[in-house]
Amino acid sequence: MKYILPAMFILIIACALFKKVRPYDAFVAGAGQAIPFAAKLFPYLATIFVLTELFERSGAADAVSSFLAPAFRLLGIPPELSKLVLVKPFSGNGALALLTEIYETYGVDGYIARCASVIYGSSETVFYVAAVYFAGAKTKNLTAPILISLFASLCACVFACFICLVM
């Protein structure tokens, strides 16, 4: 896998030279788009992160996850993992911290730990992706796509807890 990227870069520069593209000018033009993109991104990231921090610090995250734990249990998700399922859509780093905590508490090889690994690996930070992709975009109504993504992630979590029983 590690050879793919450099090989790809060589292919691209070779093609560019073959087609007589001016490589320096092209790269500068591309890189120049970075700052405007990032400038549009920052306010959205700031808002999401401020909310996430408040959510964590106030203990609301713990409260909501213990409130949802019985519902998750019905779906086959162990209560130890409900906070992970809840935090992942908001923050990848938060979820990674939780995952580490789970490994430390329940061991790396147990059912809980393996479930947590699969849940972490198979779901995406939905709200973060929404913020990044739609920073400065015209589309405003994201309710349906976000709900669908969250539901699909939940399906993956339920499936993860099931498949870790079998495999």
Binding site: A16, F27, A31, A38, F42, L54, R114, V129, I148
Partner: protein, 185 residues
């Protein structure tokens, strides 16, 4: 998003008012700091990948590549404007290869491009859901973490993860097809 913000912000601040009054501002500032750190990181990633991408685009490599993926895209999105098809192909393949740096700039470009046309809400929704349900093949950070903690078989979670990811992406695609297709004309 406005409803979620209002609800989350007011409830959390209200709790902090009673439990940890100093924590409210501290939490918000630390959130802002993390956002700035991430924005800087993203700026660097954007600069490198958009540079590389501009090279590939000017040498017409992206065009050829997009032609290869056209059948897949037609199944997912229906008819697509040519440029959008190009950006989407790159985003999806970068996703599958786990090149997380490359996915975001291509994703933003795809959405900008789709928004230039009318009646593309369905395509935008589909594109977002595919990205938000992640189609990454190798869970690199989990593997690294498990290896560092001396797991007996760190890689035994790869196959379940791939399967679970497939489930979420398939569920997402299906739901978008079921609920959002009708809005298209």
């Amino acid at each position: 998003m406005n409803v979620i913000f209002a609800l989350c912000f007011s409830v959390c601040t209200l709790i902090l008012l009673f439990t940890d009054p100093d924590g409210a501002l501290a939490a918000m500032l630390s959130g802002g700091e993390k956002a700035l750190a991430l924005t800087l990181k993203m700026t660097v990633i954007y600069a490198v990948w958009l540079g590389i991408f501009e090279l590939a685009e000017r040498s017409r490599l992206t065009e050829k590549f997009a032609r290869l993926l056209k059948p897949v895209n037609r199944f997912l999105f229906g008819e697509l404007p040519e440029k959008a098809n190009e950006y989407i192909s790159l985003n999806i393949s970068a996703n599958m290869l786990g090149m997380s740096g490359a996915t975001t700039p291509m994703g933003i470009k795809s959405i900008r491009e789709l928004e230039k046309y009318r009646n593309t809400e369905y395509q935008i929704a589909m594109f977002f859901v595919i990205n938000a349900t992640s189609i990454q093949i190798f869970p690199t950070s989990v593997l690294a973490l498990r290896t560092s903690l001396n797991a007996a078989a760190p890689s035994d979670i790869i196959l379940p993860t791939i399967l679970a990811t497939a489930v979420s992406t398939a569920a997402g695609i299906l739901l978008v097809k079921m609920f959002l297709r009708k809005k298209r004309k």
